[in-house]
Structure formats: structure tokens, C-alpha cells
């Protein structure tokens, strides 16, 4: 982590001393957060628009961009540590947006044992990391990116494609063989159980991408090329007829049980939208806090929240993007509404304080930590009072 950036309270900084105003970053930024002033010719950053995708960081030839999350040093440190920990020489770099979380990597690449490196967008990985990994003795590198038109950061996946193409040519010349780095694309998709579907049309209404089509007669059909795997329809289906491939409710439930068994009191379970919170690679949570990263806050099903309470979790904390920052077309707002509804019902049995929803953005790295800290202090105070 670059300390200089952290001091400023933001996640990204443009270092004017190094910047040569080459415009690569401003031409690649998917959010128009980096621009070049036409009069002065200077490049400048509007942090409010920045989503910290890191594409600028990984492509800047002058190393003029400082970033907090997954910068070169922390990635190298992670690789060195993980190589020992996992004791193998296969590396899988994956975008969280497309990576199957519980199973599926093995199926996709045919590797059973590997060092996982999961980041929000593989477009943020600088070329040096691939070369460093090879230098460290890593024999096989697999990269899992999203389908190009599915990339939440618009250019992250295409940029990765070009980077790997160039790297592979270079590596071939150096004698590392053809296609030393293997790139695959994948996207999360919904799957429907037509036997359970009651043709209510909820998914059609809620889908931000018009992927759900209800025909009469004929029932529900999903256009999987349009589906972006946010899981909003899954959480809204009254018939429990939908699942998100590799994010099945069942596996989240198993994970909740596992986490609950290793937590101390008062147990706080955090559901994080992976676009709202970028956890550091060496993240160490307090012994009473565990987290589950989800493709979108909309994937937080009421079942999961109640399931957690049933399994002895004291409280549930949900961190989502604000509606403006939501990478899933306002799914965050729908998630908030649904959590508010559940909170109302929890209030009827006096449990409303155990559910907390907040919106945070990775551009302000302290936001999430502060919010969680405050919530956890509140719960700890209540817990120590009650246990006395």
C-alpha cells in the first residue's frame, strides 16, 4: 500500500512530477475520471468519478499513478507468500466479476492445485506481475477475465487481452514457448428451474439488462448473452426458481456455517459487494468478524441474512455501492429496499439493530473500515452488557 495515497484519504493519486501527459490513462479510463486539460495540457484526476478499477495504474508507462489496492508491491509480496503457502507453481489470476467462487476454476482450467489471485478486474494487473511470477519460478499462469462486453470496467477485459497477447509474443521470443500465459473468459450467469417457475414476471421486472423474457404461453427464458450475473432476479424470485451459477444459495449457506464455527462472540458477518469493498490481499479481520464477498449486494438474499442469525451470528453488516456507483444498474438500490423491508419485519421481534446496511466506495478506503468499526463497537457494547 502506498502510504502517500493513504494519507490523503483517497485510493488513487496522480503524481504530477512523474506524469508525462501521454494521455494513455485518460484515453483508457472507463469513467472519465482522468482527463487532460486542453489548455494547459496537464492530466488531472477527478476522484469523485473514479471507481478504482486500476486500469490507469497498470498501463501508465511513467509509473505516475499511486494506488492503494493491489499495487505492484503488495501483489509481489502476496505472490511470494502465497507460493509458499499453497506450495505449487501454478497461478490463477481471476477477476472477481467472473470468477466462480466455490467451484469451477478447476473445471475451467483443468488445474486442481493453484495459487489464487482474485482481484476486482484483471485489467489492473501490470505486466511486471506476470514477469515477476515467472521469475519466482511459477510455471503456469492462467488468467480468467470477464467476457469483453460484460466487463464492469468496460475496458479492463479488452486491455488484459492485449497485454497478454503482447506478453506471450515476448515470452515466446525469450524461449518460454507459445502462449505461456493462458487467458480464458467467463461470465456468471443465471440458471432457471422451469419446474419451479410460476411465471410471475418478477425477474423480467427486476433484471437491469432485459435478459429475462416471459412468454405466454412458454414461460420464462433467459437471454444468457444479456445476463450479467448480478443475481438480483435470484433474490427477487418468489418461487426460488433461480440460481446464479457457482453462487448457489446452498454453497453460501455452507460457507455461513463454516465461518460461524470459527468466529468469536459477538459474531458479525459482513456481506460485501465486491465492487464496493476492495479488501487488501493480506487482510486480517478481527476474530469476531468474517466476510463473504458477493458479485453484487443484490445477491444478499433474505435467506442468507436469516440463515446467519439462525446459525448464531449476532449481526449482519452489508456493504454495498451507492446507487450512482452501482455496477449493476441500480441493483444496489433494490438491495437496499429489500434489506429495509426485512429490517422492518425483524423489528417486530426486536432484532432490527442486528442488521446494518451501508453504502461505501473503494475510492475512500477508510469509509468501509470506519463504518464497520462503529457498528462492531455498538454490537460489542451491547454484547458485553448482556453477557454480564
Amino acid at each position: 500500500m502506498s502510504e502517500q495515497v493513504a494519507e490523503a484519504g483517497v485510493s488513487l493519486k496522480l503524481n504530477e512530477d512523474y506524469c508525462s501527459n501521454c494521455s494513455i490513462c485518460s484515453s483508457l479510463c472507463p469513467f472519465e475520471a482522468i482527463k487532460r486539460d486542453t489548455e494547459t495540457g496537464k492530466t488531472f484526476l477527478e476522484i469523485e468519478k473514479c471507481q478504482v478499477c486500476g486500469i490507469c495504474y497498470s498501463t501508465c508507462p511513467a509509473k505516475a499513478i499511486d494506488i492503494i489496492y493491489y499495487d505492484l508491491n503488495s501483489l509481489i509480496k502476496y505472490l511470494a507468500r502465497a507460493k509458499q503457502e499453497y506450495d505449487c507453481d501454478t497461478l490463477v489470476i481471476m477477476c472477481r466479476g467472473s470468477a466462480p467462487n466455490f467451484a469451477g476454476i478447476e473445471e475451467l482450467f483443468g488445474v486442481a492445485k493453484f495459487i489464487p489471485l482474485s482481484v476486482p478486474c484483471v485489467g489492473r494487473i501490470p505486466e511486471e506481475i506476470y514477469l515477476n511470477a515467472i521469475l519466482m519460478g511459477i510455471k503456469e499462469i492462467y488468467v480468467l477475465a470477464c467476457d469483453e462486453d460484460y466487463c464492469r470496467y468496460d475496458r479492463g477485459s479488452p486491455v488484459t487481452g492485449r497485454k497478454i497477447l503482447a506478453l506471450n509474443l515476448l515470452l515466446e521470443q525469450l524461449g518460454y514457448g507459445k502462449e505461456a500465459i493462458a487467458l480464458k473468459r467467463n461470465s456468471l450467469k443465471v440458471k432457471a428451474d422451469k419446474d419451479l417457475c410460476i411465471a410471475c414476471g418478477n425477474c423480467v421486472f427486476y433484471c437491469p439488462y432485459d435478459a429475462a423474457k416471459l412468454e405466454s404461453p412458454g414461460g420464462i427464458n433467459f437471454d444468457l448473452t444479456a445476463c450479467r450475473g448480478c443475481g438480483l432476479c435470484v433474490a427477487m424470485c418468489p418461487a426460488i426458481a433461480l440460481e446464479l451459477e457457482n453462487w448457489e444459495g446452498e454453497s453460501i449457506s455452507t460457507l455461513i456455517s463454516k465461518l460461524s464455527s470459527e468466529m468469536e462472540q459477538p459474531k458479525i458477518l459482513v456481506f460485501r459487494c465486491q465492487w464496493a469493498v476492495f479488501p487488501p490481499l493480506d487482510e486480517e479481520l478481527a476474530p469476531n468478524i468474517r466476510s463473504i464477498d458477493l458479485p453484487c449486494a443484490a445477491r444478499v438474499d433474505n435467506f442468507h441474512i436469516l440463515d446467519a442469525f439462525q446459525k448464531g451470528i449476532d449481526s449482519v453488516f452489508i456493504a454495498a455501492c451507492s446507487e450512482e456507483d452501482c455496477k449493476q444498474e441500480k441493483a444496489s438500490g433494490k438491495a437496499q429496499h429489500s434489506v429495509a423491508k426485512l429490517k422492518e419485519r425483524l423489528g417486530q421481534i426486536g432484532l432490527q439493530d442486528r442488521l446494518h446496511f451501508c453504502t461505501v466506495a473503494p475510492r475512500y478506503p477508510e469509509e468501509f473500515d470506519r463504518e464497520l468499526e462503529q457498528f462492531s463497537q455498538r454490537r460489542e457494547a451491547i454484547y458485553s452488557k448482556v453477557s454480564k
Binding site: 418468489p238 429496499h337 419485519r345
Partner: protein
């Protein structure tokens, strides 16, 4: 659609307090918002948590059927699931609850919801509004497709009462005046002359209590 709202959890907990094995039966029919498997499961989780706070351990089974107002379906699909069940919590409208109560005389059947009216869903604003009063003598052809019985607070048949203000009802300023809606609709359709037609008082017997299919 038959519009329902969830009863408060403590009321439900009171209903079931003396039972342990409870079946929560969803209805995929016309209850709105949907009260299918998801609601059944969510409710079971909430009641289990609520029960624990009252030092009571419930055991729930959840299921759903296409419509609880159908004797045949209830008898053939729900009845076989009653083994070991001491009480049923029905997620159907009042009609479904009555069907179940009649068909399962030996088991207490409780409504999990309050039933309100026949209404339409406006999903954007998450609002459901009454649209049909089930009068047995449909007037919609004469009123531009807007029901004066359901939409006019006073259920007037022959035009506005004169108390409307800014298009809203004098009895409830949040509610649209049904007759202004009718007027605007007829104007759009070029059928304002329909307003001149006199409609005699309703025959309340037409509502009926029984029809044969």
C-alpha cells in the same frame, strides 16, 4: 390480484405458540405481493428466530401450491403433506385459509396475512391499489374502463359529487377522484356523451353469493 399484507410476527407467534410442528403453506395463485415458496421460507426463518426469543422451538415445513382456493388442489396436493403437522399457517388470501380450514377440520389453520381487496400492481412504486369491487354488474364499458365503485371513494354511479379538489377526493386528499379519472379517460376516447346517461341505483342482489360454472 388479491392484495394481502403480512400480519405482524408477534400475532403469528401467538397463534402458533402452543404447537411445535407447523406447516407454512404458500400460494402461487393470485395473492399479491407473491406469497410462494420464498415467503414461506422467509417466514419460517423469522418465526423460528422469534420463537427462540420466546424460548420456544418450532419446527417448520414449507410448501406451496398453485392455488389454495381450489378444493381439488388442496385435497390432492396439500393434504398429503400434513403428516405430523399440528397447525397450518396459510399464506393465501382469506379464501384459501377457509378452504384449508374446511378440508382439514382436525387441524387448526391460521391466516398469516390480512386480505384487503382486488387490486392492480404498479411495480415501479411498489404500490397495489383497489380496482374491482366485485359488484356483479360490470359498468366498465360505460366509464372508460375505470370502475366508479372501486375508484370513487363514495362509489357514486352518476358523476362526481362536487367535493373534489385538484383532482383529489374530498375525503382523502391522497386519493384520486374516481370520477375525474373517468372524465379524463372518456374525453381521450371521445365518449364524453356517455356521461349524460343516467344510471339507476345498483341492484345489490347482483353481487350474489354463488355462481355455477
Amino acid at each position: 390480484m388479491i392484495v394481502t399484507t403480512q400480519k405482524p410476527l408477534d400475532e403469528l407467534l401467538d397463534f402458533i405458540s402452543t404447537y411445535s410442528n407447523i406447516l407454512i403453506a404458500g400460494c402461487d395463485g393470485c395473492t399479491q405481493p407473491p406469497r410462494g415458496l420464498r415467503e414461506a421460507k422467509t417466514l419460517s426463518q423469522l418465526l423460528e428466530l422469534g420463537g427462540k426469543l420466546r424460548n420456544k422451538n418450532f419446527s417448520f415445513k414449507t410448501t406451496t401450491i398453485a392455488k389454495q382456493c381450489d378444493y381439488y388442489l388442496v385435497a390432492s396436493m396439500l393434504k398429503p403433506q400434513l403428516e405430523g403437522v399440528e397447525a397450518v399457517l396459510s399464506l393465501a388470501c382469506g379464501i384459501g385459509v377457509q378452504t384449508l380450514a374446511e378440508l382439514f377440520p382436525e387441524i387448526p389453520v391460521f391466516p398469516a396475512q390480512n386480505t384487503h381487496f382486488m387490486g392492480a400492481e404498479e411495480r415501479e412504486g411498489a404500490i397495489l391499489e383497489e380496482r374491482c369491487a366485485g359488484c356483479g354488474d360490470c359498468l366498465l364499458a360505460l366509464t372508460g374502463g375505470i370502475c366508479p365503485i372501486a375508484r370513487c371513494t363514495k362509489g357514486l354511479l352518476n358523476g362526481a359529487c362536487g367535493g373534489s379538489k385538484d383532482g383529489k377526493c374530498e375525503l382523502n386528499p391522497e386519493r384520486d377522484c374516481g370520477w375525474i379519472l373517468i372524465y379524463e379517460q372518456l374525453k381521450k376516447k371521445g365518449k364524453l356523451d356517455l356521461l349524460k346517461e343516467f344510471r339507476p341505483p345498483r341492484d345489490y342482489q347482483l353481487t350474489g353469493w354463488k355462481v355455477s360454472t
